[in-house]
Structures are given as C-alpha cells and as structure tokens.
C-alpha cells in the first residue's frame, strides 16, 4: 500500500492538498465549460449544507452507504487485499435484506431489524468469500474475481426484480416495499436521517479500536505491511487472516446494502447503487485508510453527491460531473501523496514517521 504507514499530520496535509488540487482543476474545467465556478460552489454548498434538512436529509443520508463501503475498502486495502468488489457485496447485502425483510412478515422491530442486518452481512461476506477461496486455494488474484462478482450481482438483481421478487402487480421492475417494522427508525423525526448513520459511526469507531488495540488487529495490520514478515512472526496463518479480511470487508459492504434497503428505499431495484462500491475506493483513500477519517470523507463525498442534484437543477451542470470530480479527488490524493514525500525528502519523512503513531 505504502500510504497507510505515514504520520497522521502528513496524511491530513495530503488530503487537504488533494481537495485543493481537485477544486482548482474542477474550477478550471467548469470555466472552460462556460459555468461560473463560484456560483457552482455556492449552489453545491447550499444544496448539501445550506439547511438542516439538506444536511441531515441529503448529505448525511447519502454518506451512510459511502462510509460503510468506504470502511469495507479500508479494511481490505489495509491488509493488502484488493477488494474492488464492494459494489457486488453491497448488492448481495441488499438482496438478502429485501428477501428476508419481505418473507419475515410483521414482527417487533427489535427482532426483525437485527435479523435483516445479519442476513445482509452474511450475504456480503459470502460474496467476498468466493474470491477469497479463489485466491487462497487456486491462486487467482482478487482484482479480477471481485470485479466479475460485481457483474454477477448486478445481473442477479435485474433477474430478481423482474421475476421471483417482482412487486405483486408484476408491472414494474422492483420489489414490494418491506413492512414498517423492518424499516429503520429515524434518528431525528421529520428528517430522512435514519439509524443507519449511527451504525456507520459506531462501526468506524469500533474498527479503529479493533485494529489498534487487539491482537487480531495487529495481525491484520502486519498482513498488509508485509506478508513475509507476518509469516515469519508465525502468530497466525496467513490464509486464515486473509479469509478474515475478505469476510470482514464483504460483511461491511453487505451491511451497507441492507441499511440502504431498510433505511432509505424500502425496496430493491436496478441501479440501487450509483457505483458506491467504486466511489468507496476514493472515500477510503482520501481518508488515508484511517477508519475514523472515513466518517469525514464519507460525509464529504455525500455532500458532493447530494449537492450535485442542486447543481443540475439550478445551474444546469450535468450530474455526471460528480463522478468526474470523484476521480479527480482520487488522482489528486495519489499525486499529492507523492509530491509531499518528494518535497519532504527521506530524512524528514523518517523523523516524522518515528514521532507519529498509526491511525
């Protein structure tokens, strides 16, 4: 990885420089496209944070799946597992959630919701388990297999919502709505902000604790640092640690899908995720793979996606701009990380690393 071991202050500088670079690039591109960058930024901020309703109901709600899939990617990348399959694992979780949610019937929420969460987490883990097996037993790299699994999941959703799980009247390609008792309660009544946000916050704090303060966390981290070193230290076998990483990562992405169903859409349909599993890579990297920082970068990207609707409505900037800006963020992170390392030189850098602890 090479990006996770640095000093937290250096990481913060890198992220800030990346955001600055992206802003500059985007502003230039907007001007070339004949838009006013200042007005665009105003509308973006207004649309995502201009009111309590916009912030809670738009930005934070969008941030939930981004934070959870961002955590999934961070877990994997930290341990040197290239899980590009958060998108597919998200859908696997969403399928399981809607399936269990529809077949459960009406029970008390304190029973139904955990059952649905469990189903979603298991399904996401299962989706990640296949690439894990293929890597460990057969030596097939997970980059290709996790991507292939994404497409399998997307077509599976498209099949399910048109055939076995289609809504009762059989007209539209989506499932029926899940019953009230399987829907997540709102954190603040009257806004769209649901319990899923709290789950995301707790998971990011929990993962930070797991990685920094437990033996398993230490082993997982050393797996990312050097698989050789971890083998030599002999604490735990590499393949079982790899499986744990795949399962944990898939579980988080699956849970993201389950929470999206129970918290926001209440039904499954094609295109439920506008590519969150891929955006998650940018979310995790802008956070320098730090679990707590994923909360912030998830909200940042949530604001970007939330505000893009307003930009399109009010200024006429096409919504496709957002994914282009997200890619710019990713490239800027890569560039500024390298630039800082070169500017600082190896001497100061090693000094910084000695004084810094791991995020």
């Amino acid at each position: 990885m090479g990006m996770q071991d640095s000093n937290p202050w250096l990481a913060l500088l890198v992220s800030l420089l990346a955001v600055l670079l992206t802003t500059l690039f985007t502003a230039t591109a907007l001007m070339l496209g004949g838009f006013s960058p200042v007005v665009a930024l105003q509308v973006l901020i207004e649309g995502s944070m201009g009111s309590i309703d916009n912030f809670l109901g738009v930005t934070l709600v969008r941030a939930v799946p981004l934070i959870l899939t961002g955590l999934a990617v961070a877990v994997a990348f930290k341990s040197g597992v290239w899980n590009i399959g958060a998108e597919g694992q998200f859908y696997a979780g969403a399928i399981a959630a809607v399936w269990v949610g529809l077949s459960l019937g009406d029970h008390p929420s304190f029973f139904s919701i955990p059952a649905v969460f469990l189903a979603a987490a298991l399904a996401g883990s299962f989706w990640a388990f296949i690439p894990a097996l293929m890597r460990i037993r057969l030596g097939v790299g997970e980059v290709v297999t996790t991507i292939l699994m994404n497409f399998v999941a997307i077509h599976l959703v498209s099949y399910l919502v048109r055939w076995p799980l289609q809504e009762e009247r059989g007209v539209f390609p989506n499932t029926d709505l899940i019953v009230e008792s399987v829907r997540l309660p709102k954190i603040i009544a009257g806004t769209g902000l649901h319990l899923g946000f709290l789950v995301a916050v707790m998971l990011s704090l929990g993962l930070a604790g797991l990685f920094n303060h437990t033996v398993l966390g230490f082993n997982l981290r050393s797996l990312g640092g050097s698989q050789e070193a971890s083998r030599v230290s002999g604490r735990s076998s590499i393949s079982s640690l790899l499986v744990v990483t795949f399962l944990l990562s898939g579980c988080l992405a699956g849970l993201a899908g389950g929470i999206e169903i129970t918290g926001r859409t209440f039904a499954l349909y094609e295109g439920l995720s506008p590519g969150w599993g891929y955006t998650a890579i940018a979310v995790a990297l802008l956070a320098n793979l730090n679990f707590k920082a994923v909360l912030l970068t998830g909200i940042f990207f949530g604001a970007l996606e939330g505000g893009s609707g307003a930009m399109q409505r009010e200024v006429g900037i096409p919504a496709a701009w957002v994914s282009w800006i997200e890619a710019l963020v990713l490239l800027s992170v890569l560039a500024s990380d390298r630039l800082f390392r070169r500017l600082l030189g190896s001497k100061w850098q090693s000094k910084l690393r000695e004084s810094g602890s791991d995020g």
Binding site: M3, G33, I84, V140, H155, R162, W163, E326, L330, R342
Partner: protein, 309 residues
C-alpha cells in the same frame, strides 16, 4: 421474430461481440507483459467510444472515427502512465481512478454537448464486407469472412502480436521487464520507456475497442463500455497472456454473450438477465480451473523502482 436460429447467425454474432474484448485484451496483454496491470482500460474504452463518435459525427468518416477513438483511449492511458511511471503510484488505485475519470468525463462531456435527456446520435455504421474467395466458403465464409473491418483487424493483430512478442528483440525486452525489471535494467533495457510504450499501446487498442462499440452500433450511449474493460482483463488471464489463447478466450466470451440471442429467439419470457450473467459466471469457473493456474508476469503490479521514491 420467427427468424429461425442458425449456427451461422450465432457464430457471426459471437465474433462481433468478441471483437471489442479481443482488441482491449490484446492491448492489455502487452501492458501486462511489461509488468503493469492497467485496470483503467475501461476508461480508455469509453473515451475511445466518445472520441470515435464525435469524430465520425464531425467528418462522417469511419476511418477518422477509428483513428480518434484510438487516440482517445491512448490519452486516458497517458494519464495512467504519467501517474504510474512518473509518480510511481499504485497501479490498481490509479487504474480505478482513470476508469472513474473516463466514465465521468465522457458522461459530463456528452451531457454538455448533447443535453441531459441524451438526444440520439446517429453515426456512420461499420459495414460488413465479404473477403473474396474465403467469403464464399460454405458455413465458414459467412461466419468468419463476411464481417466488418474491425474483425479483420483482429485477425491481423493476433499473428502480428504473437510474432512481436516471441520473435523480436522488442518482445524479449518487454517480457524481461515484466518478469524482472532489475535484471532487465542491468542488461541495459530502459524499463520505464518499455513500460510507457506498453501502456500506450494498451490504451490505443482499448480506444479502438471503444470505437468499434460506437461505430458498430451507430451511436454513443453513456457508460456504453459496460464493464468490457474489466472483462478484457479476465480474458487476458484466461488467455494466459498469449495472443492466440486471448483471441480464443474472447471468442468464448463472445459466444457466451451471444447465447442470449439464441434464447431470445426461442421465447420472449425467458429470464434474460441470467443469460447476461452467464459469461461472468463461466469466466469465474474457467479461472477456477486449468486457466487460472497460468503464471502471470512475475513483476505484475509491483512498483518500480522499488526504492528511492
């Protein structure tokens, strides 16, 4: 709709569907042979499709469409090369970024140029033509030799690439850089230059694949690359980094995709998403078997130089 299914129609369709995969995968295999995994060729394909569409629209020319399509794909690969070779950034993350950038940028450009509702663009369409004599062969003629120019381009590329890889000094240098850049450098090979050319070649060919998509269908649609860049990467693994096997793997994928037409002609209410899923499942199964055991170039995805950056 009552058109009966025939073997000729099926294999003809399989070849047409295999072409963009074969082009992108053959290009990607050059890149991977140099030790670089570019998962950003999806971005090159969509950029190639848009550039081909814009050029073909402006000049009403298939040829210029293909040239600009290739250049568009090369441009995305150039960004990838600058980051991976110039800044020594991680290949997989950079590839993800160039894919997102390609999809996002083409989408934004398309919406800005043609409006958000997406008015339909009509382009000159690739026409199939018959190769004299060969095209008149029974069965084989209509399947293989009554196709469009991009199909014949793939036919030419397979032996050419095979020859270049295994019988020229460039091929030897390329492979040595992919196996062990340290040893290659000792032997006087300019590692970064070899990789630069390999990445650009991959991008140009992915761009051609995109041009085929636009010019074969006669239009441009956002996200029309539809994950073909990722499938091409699987095709390279299935094809064991060898041009001949890659072409066969691409054809296998094309045939699996063409199955949907067969089933569509059999009945209308068959679950088509399952047939769309089939190629991906088959690829996963194939990778689990004998095909997955092939050894990748040893230096694939590893940073270089390893220290001092």
């Amino acid at each position: 709709m009552v058109e009966s299914f025939s073997l000729v129609v099926f294999f003809g369709a399989a070849i047409r569907l295999a072409v963009p995969l074969a082009l992108a995968a053959l290009g990607e295999s050059i890149t991977e042979r140099s030790g670089v995994l570019n998962i950003g060729i999806e971005g090159s394909i969509i950029a190639g499709a848009l550039c081909a569409a814009l050029a073909a629209l402006k000049w009403s020319s298939i040829l210029l469409g293909m040239v600009f399509g290739a250049l568009g794909g090369g441009l995305v690969a150039l960004v990838f090369a600058i980051f991976v070779l110039g800044l020594n950034t991680d290949q997989i993350i950079t590839g993800t970024a160039t894919t997102l950038a390609g999809l996002g940028f083409t989408g934004a450009l398309y919406q800005a140029r043609f409006g958000m509702t997406g008015s339909v663009i009509t382009l000159p369409v690739l026409r199939s033509f018959k190769i004299p004599i060969l095209g008149d062969l029974p069965i084989l003629g209509p399947i293989f030799f009554q196709q469009s120019v991009t199909v014949y381009l793939v036919y030419l590329l397979i032996p050419t690439l095979w020859y270049l890889l295994f019988n020229t000094s460039w091929g030897l240098e390329l492979r040595s850089v992919g196996e062990s850049p340290e040893v290659a450098e000792e032997a006087g090979v300019r590692v970064l230059l070899v990789r630069f050319i390999a990445i650009l070649s991959g991008g140009l060919m992915a761009g051609l694949a995109g041009a085929h998509l636009a010019l074969d269908s006669g239009t441009f649609i956002e996200n029309m690359s539809g994950g073909r860049g990722f499938i091409a990467i699987a095709v390279v693994v299935l094809g064991r980094w060898n041009p001949v096997w890659i072409a066969i793997a691409a054809l296998f994928f094309g045939a699996a995709s063409a199955l949907q037409f067969v089933f569509q002609s059999l009945g209308s209410n068959l679950p088509f998403p399952l047939f769309l899923m089939l190629p991906y499942l088959l690829t996963l199964i194939a990778l689990s078997g004998w095909f997955g055991r092939a050894k990748a170039p040893a230096a694939l995805t590893l940073p270089w130089p390893t220290k001092g950056r």
